[in-house]
Amino acid sequence: MTAVLIRVDPARPIPLADQIAASVRRGIADGAVAAGERLPPARELAASLDVSIHTVLAGYQKLRDEGLIELRRGRGATVRATTRPGHAAVLELARGLVDEARRHGLGDEELVDLVRTAL
């Protein structure tokens, strides 16, 4: 069953939607949210966090674009059956890497090259 902790801090320089997505990613990575399970309905999560519903939906859409969850009208957001914890963990690391690189002024091309050489 789902058990997910979502943390957002407006004081951090990261958009709230990204913070929501990161929380879910971590939940999937550490096994608290398993494949096939439902995430909290956007409306309820928005009220709970005191943020706009659009912010929550933007976060969920990010996760859908990454292939971690499915969004269906009427059924809400569910973790895709094929999603593996390790996948979410790697995605979360990749996010962290991109954030860190940008913070240090590394260009996107440079970062891609860096990753390629690390392979």
Partner: protein
């Protein structure tokens, strides 16, 4: 002998042992018994129900064995720890001994009443005798049944989650029971069918009971700036809320089967339990000292967050 087996024997054996006198008596009187025997008696002691000799076997032998088996099973499942302030083991001990004693006495009286074919009456005060035996054995049962070992929940508040001054956090979790949901569904359907066949209160009551059971087939728990919210059933409604201001502390507990006396909305001394299934649960202590226990998967994070929100609010 381990605790489980000991509790199973202590609760299961009384019914079986208490049935022995009736069985011996029945065996010795068998050939002299009439083909048709009295099986049911009015309050005055006069027989008002009759059956074949074989029905005596049911009352004197089969019923006590089934009762003993059931009590033994419940005894084995009753945990070696106790919920808030009352000890289910002691109550079960009393119930199993009293039930076994009552049934055993009835068995003896039944055979005695039928042995003398002329007087198909339950000996005077038979019911009182049975009740007397039940009460006496019930007291013995409560005394011999070992007290549950652990005191109510360790109740150590879960370490608080560190929260930034402006940080917002929301935890939501749920748990469900396929068994309870299926039971509720079956009751609702059966109630509808019954109502359709014979419109009347019976079908309506059964359907309503089914809906009530369905409510406790699953629960969704949310912890956030507002406090604790528990939504019952598939639709998460009705809801139980504890505002953050009313929360004193939160901890976790591993709820054993029957620790709260069963599933559903359980009122126990010192608090209330929303028990969907045995297993991990979140325990919230209110400022008044009363506790709410909600079964939910991964409750540690929920308790940590609630304590974090509580300590930040000051």
């Amino acid at each position: 002998m381990d605790g489980t087996r000991r509790r199973a024997l202590l609760t299961g054996l009384p019914s079986v042992v208490a049935a022995v006198p009736g069985i011996v008596l029945l065996a010795r009187a068998w050939d002299g018994l009439p083909e048709v025997v009295a099986t049911h008696f009015g309050l005055g002691g006069a027989a008002n129900g009759f059956g074949t000799r074989a029905t005596l076997l049911g009352t004197v032998i089969v019923l006590p064995l089934v009762l003993g088996g059931l009590f033994g099973l419940i005894g084995a499942m009753t945990p070696g720890r106790r919920g808030a302030g009352f000890d289910p083991a002691k109550i079960l001990g009393a119930a199993s001994w009293a039930g076994g004693g009552l049934l055993g006495t009835i068995g003896v009286l039944l055979v005695l009443a039928n042995r003398t074919a002329t007087a198909e009456r339950l000996p005077l005060g038979g019911l009182l005798l049975g009740l007397g035996v039940a009460v006496a054995l019930g007291v013995v049962g409560a005394l011999v049944m070992p007290r549950s070992t652990l005191q109510p929940g360790a109740d150590v508040p879960t370490p608080a989650l560190e929260l930034g001054a402006g940080e917002r956090a929301s935890w939501s979790g749920s748990c469900s029971s396929v068994f309870v949901t299926a039971l509720g569904g079956v009751l609702v359907v059966a109630g509808l069918l019954l109502f359709w066949a014979t419109p009347g209160p019976a079908g309506a009551i059964m359907g309503a009971a089914g809906l009530l059971v369905l409510l406790f087939g699953s629960a969704r728990t949310t912890v956030d700036r507002r406090g604790l919210t528990v939504g019952l059933g598939v639709f998460g409604w009705p809801r139980i809320r504890i505002p953050l201001e009313e929360v004193a502390s939160a901890s976790t507990e591993d709820v054993a089967a029957l620790q709260y006396g069963g599933l559903g909305y359980r009122i126990v001394p010192g608090g209330v339990g929303v028990i969907v299934r045995p297993g991990p649960a979140l325990v919230v202590t209110r400022r008044s000292g009363r506790r709410l226990t909600v079964t939910v998967d991964h409750p540690e994070t929920a308790a940590a967050l609630l304590n974090g929100l509580r300590s930040r609010a000051g």
